[in-house]
Amino acid sequence: MWRRKLPCPRTEVCRYRAVKTHTALEKISLQTPRSADQIAADLDRRIEAYIRCSDPDSVEFDQLALELFAYQYANNDPYRQLCDQRGHTPSNVDSWRAVPALSAASFGDARIACFPEERTTVTFISSGTTRSGDPSHNSSDRSIHELENTKLYDASLLAHFCQCVIPDLDRIRMILLSPSFDDAPQSSLSYMLSKLYSTYGNGGGFFMREDALDVEGIAKALQESRERTLVFGTAFAFVHFLDYCASTKLRFNLPERSRIVETGGFKGKSRSVARDDLYDALSGTFGVSHEFCVAEYGMCELGSQWYDAGLSDAFAGRHVREQLKVGPHWTRTLVVDAVTAHELPHGSTGLLQVFDLSNRGSVAAILTGDLVTQSDEGFIYVSRSLAAPPKGCSIAVDTMLGAARD
């Protein structure tokens, strides 16, 4: 069993303990009237503390969730309209489960933010997984997620990465099959990897520029790896690199306890590879054992990420839960019916709905377009939703929008 040498620097004693549940509106009315900015600052502070908390309390989560809902309802016009349309408002919602969820695709339909545009510090634009039928909101028809600040985003991504990917280390050599945030300033993945690199990186670097993968640079960096190494990239980038390795008969033998994190799936690209085949190839080509090859699940519309439990299980000496994605304690997940959006019985397969406290500036309750099967400890990804465009003469919406832009 491997253990990290030092505790993560994030541990902080939780300061909030709720004793009674209220509706979100009651919570607001119990407090002295405050401005939206004051409420936002207070929420940021308290959510950050909750993220850093080593002993999270579910009652406290509920309290924060309801206060966050009330804040977002009051300060986010499109979201308020959605809540009003569905008849679920802070006056009648008393649990995070009942908070109306916004479709992730709606980030392409309207500006989903609780603050004025001029206060946006970072803007993430999706890589196109979120299908939109309406080209009206933004020119590229992709989801746009604006952040007022990156405090919660950073706290969230660092803490959960630390737990799931490097529970045994403070720093790790990183070979990143992605552009850096400087090169891709609208990519949430690039932001995330740049933040991880600057915080936990120890050599290596980014190996994609202007959409071109520096395969020779990656090979050289891998060959030079003398210590535990993390290789992190999109599935599509890995496939390209594996093709290169196959054509040049390259194989590597990374130091023991090196690890691979793959993200993003294939997102409708022309070539896709079955997950097991990809992981076999990754393991074989990089010389990394299977349980050290994990997937990350995230999207530009969410501040938090989910990782396969395999790595942390291996380090904890537990039975490895294959393909089970675990989320951080400041999130909750539901599996809901793709049509009614009602919660499904435990173990069912349906759409993943997330409540993410780190989404303070937009909407915390997000309905994704991904089908998953939920278990006690997390979920297993199944596929993109069936609501993807069916075939038909007039249905190639994305194709059409692409053509219209040309």
Partner: protein
């Protein structure tokens, strides 16, 4: 040099054949009705489609004056609507070409019925139509079939057309791919009549073709757009018994649900006259029969299919046309409420529309609109 004897004989045969398709009791109509009974579309939709496809064909069939093309043409048919199968057969025969008719896996019998009808019509059309079936995308089989044709007319999504073009001789493929249509309601229109007409265009084939309006622009204020949306939802309700919605598959049901969820963000706020802005039809086999949403003015929305309509206010026809223009070459038809004035015709054609017609006529294109007789008369794409 035109062989007038042969041309006249061909035209006579085709005019007799077209008349049979307009006759509800003809052998061809009865056979088609039976063949399509348990297919994708409800009987009422089948009947409406068969009734309309050659309703105005006589004039063009009689007017075609060109030497017999004597080409062998392969037509790859769509599965989403019924009309092109019959239209392709008559266009090819009018041009004097032999036709290999490749059916969609979703509808396999109409080609056989047409071939039988051509046999019954006699020379010179007898024997010119050969129904074909294979699994689309079977490259080995298609490698043998494509060289037999001097011309290929293909319906389908853009990827299918590009795929066929890649493998067929250069310049031999005429494609009818994805396209989108919109509606426009000028101020002062008779809203009752306009909503009835628009409901027909939306309901026939549940928007699976290219000619249904997906976005309808209403000249005037938000409130006028909302009122039109309300009227359209009533008209769609009333039309449902005579033109029922087809059975929706799992993917379509999920897509409709997602469309409604997204409308909760996109729709206009409820109007002061207390009308909502999202009108959801009654449930039919687990899916809403229709959804109409009123949204603020913006570019056209193209929300999949299944009687999903976005209504948007606009300042005037020019603003609607500017919005439609953003669809680029994918803009097909514009249906306008009331008469198509020369001014409206000019504004929308300038925006790139291929056709400007009255609402209610969008799903009844003239014979020779898609495909055209000329598609089967020339070996090269014109």
């Amino acid at each position: 040099m035109i062989d007038l004897t042969s041309l006249t004989a061909r035209q006579d045969a085709l005019l007799r054949g077209a008349a049979q398709w307009r006759d509800r009791n003809s052998a061809a109509r009865v056979a088609a009705r039976e063949a399509l009974r348990n297919g994708e579309w409800p009987p009422e939709v089948v009947e409406t489609a068969l009734e309309g496809v050659l309703r105005d064909a006589d004039e063009q069939l009689a007017a075609w004056r060109a030497p017999e093309a004597d080409l062998t043409v392969l037509a790859i048919l769509p599965g989403n609507v019924i009309g092109p199968t019959i239209a392709a057969a008559y266009c090819a025969a009018a041009a004097g070409s032999k036709l290999m008719l490749k059916s969609s896996s979703r509808e396999l019998q109409l080609a056989d019925i047409l071939a039988a009808q051509f046999e019954q019509l006699g020379p010179p059309v007898a024997g010119t139509l050969r129904p074909m079936r294979w699994s689309g995308g079977d490259e080995d089989f298609e490698a043998k079939v494509f060289p037999l044709a001097q011309r290929i007319v293909v319906f389908g999504d853009d990827a299918t057309i590009e795929d066929v073009k890649r493998r067929a001789p250069e310049g031999s493929v005429k494609g009818y791919g994805s396209a989108f249509s919109i509606g426009f309601v000028p101020s002062g229109s008779d809203i009752g009549a306009a909503t009835q007409a628009a409901a027909f265009d939306v309901a026939l084939f549940d928007q699976r073709g290219c000619l249904s309006p997906q976005t309808i622009y209403v000249e005037g204020s938000d409130a006028q757009a909302i009122l039109f949306g309300h009227g359209l939802s009533i008209s769609l309700c009333k039309l449902s018994p005579s033109l029922p919605r087809a059975h929706a598959g799992e993917a379509e049901i999920a897509a409709v649900a997602e469309f409604i969820r997204r409308l909760h963000v996109r729709a206009l706020p409820p109007a002061t006259h207390a009308l909502g802005t999202i009108f959801v039809g009654p449930d039919k086999d687990g899916v809403a029969e229709f959804v109409v949403g009123a949204e603020p003015f913006s570019r056209p929305a193209c929300p999949a299919f299944g009687r999903l309509v976005i209504v948007k206010p606009c300042r005037d026809a020019t603003q609607a046309a500017d919005a439609a223009k953003t669809l680029g070459p994918k803009l097909d038809s514009v249906g306008v409420a009331g008469p198509v004035t020369p001014s409206l015709q000019r504004i929308f054609m300038k925006a790139g529309a291929l056709r400007v017609c009255s609402l209610g006529e969008m799903q009844r294109p003239p014979f020779g609109y898609r495909p055209q007789i000329a598609d089967f008369a020339n070996a090269r794409v014109q």
